[in-house]
Point group: C2
Chain length 216, copies 2
DNA sequence: CTCTCTAGTAATTGATCGATTACTAGTTTA
DNA sequence: TAAACTAGTAATCGATCAATTACTAGAGAG
């Protein structure tokens, strides 16, 4: 009797048995969503297990500890962000987009990642966990990796990179605070989100209404 | 036998007995520091009690629940932020500072609040807790309160307010990730912090070295 | 001096959570 | 087809934590 409470990542038909590598990726996806919403300490391995439709001990045994799972989630998120940015830089290098468009396109690539909210949110939850020895160290390294990527690989002036990251942190904060799901037509909230999410606003509010009415 | 492990807020000589109102404020100060570092779920009432030099049940009984204590910490932090901003606006209204300086002075007022890191950090920990019904609701209201204050009372154009908040969120993230305490001379980290903290960089690194070598 | 608050603690409790152990069913291989 | 490995679960354990209870000491009022 597998009473399963599935979560965001587009529930594929519940399969009973699955190669470890595939199960691993599935767990990471759900863990990303739950950690992203509830934070590291606020998330239980049981919540992740339920989201992934498996038993709690299996989650723990596959990753060793909750902490190791969280670090893997962070690394996966960071990896996806870096891939997205590098792709834009590649398009610039190959002349497919103009140099003066680079910043805007990178910004769009960032906002596009909201679609899977777990990516940006689990990263942010890691950033906020700076006091933890192992998570904090990984988070700082990851943050600086992004900074160097934008400055050195993309060739963006340092203070523009700072501004870019600042915009990103505001976006993260608005998502983490749950503004898209709970603004209830508030005029100030609407204005601030319009300015922050730009053309992606519709998508953000759409993803919000999908993901807000769910358990976990 | 009062074996006391005091925390940041400039340890006054340990007094045995104290009026409730005074004790309350003392607890709020220490709770702000601990919640700011470890987050809501990551903090135990015992850690707050040790920081404040009292017993764990006393902490709980004075505020009812951990959640109520956290909300009070948030409200106190928000209050201090608003007071700081209103003071700058008042100086502008009374002509003591020029209108075109307003943004810079508000920014400085924000950065000055880093001195007591608990204020900005406990607020940020609240922002990140958007999924929680009661904390999230309060956090959203507080965030929008700051937005309206800057836009309507200070009269700053909406998109400049957005930029201002973005800069603030980057500062918060750099503090929360523990960059000032752990950058270890890294070139990129130094550059980013210089750009973000500006003239306050020295003070930030100083507070860091004071507050990093402590328990809790 | 004693009565009565007020400020505080020690002890404990029930719930929760991460982790471990011991098991089972399904799949592959020889 | 039997052996060996892989994918999974159920049961449980020890630790931790917020909260409650029941107590004690000190200060002020009469």
């Amino acid at each position: 009797m597998s009473s399963v409470t599935n979560d965001t990542p587009s529930d594929p038909p519940i399969r009973e048995r699955m190669p470890a590598a595939e199960r691993r990726e599935l767990i990471l996806g759900h863990a990303s969503a739950v950690f992203g919403r509830r934070g590291y300490s606020g998330t239980t391995t049981e919540q992740i297990a339920q989201a992934a439709g498996i038993s709690q001990p299996y989650v723990v045994r596959m990753f060793g500890t909750k902490e190791k799972l969280f670090v893997e989630v962070m690394e996966r998120a960071l990896g996806k962000l870096i891939v997205a940015f590098r792709e834009i830089i590649r398009l610039r290098d190959s002349g497919e987009i103009a140099s003066n468009e680079l910043g805007a396109r990178l910004g769009q690539a960032y906002v596009d990642l909201i679609e899977d909210r777990g990516i940006l949110m689990s990263l942010m939850q890691g950033f906020i966990q700076g006091h933890d020895d192992v998570i904090g160290r990984r988070a700082r390294a990851g943050f600086l990796e992004i900074y160097r990527l934008l400055r050195d690989e993309a060739g963006i002036p340092a203070d523009d990179v700072r501004g870019f990251l600042a915009d990103g942190m505001l976006i993260n904060t608005l998502l983490a605070i749950g503004m898209p799901d709970n603004f209830e037509g508030d005029e100030a909230a609407t204005e601030l989100m319009t300015l922050s999410f730009g053309a992606k606003l519709d998508a953000v509010l759409c993803v919000a209404s999908e993901q807000s009415t769910r358990p976990v």
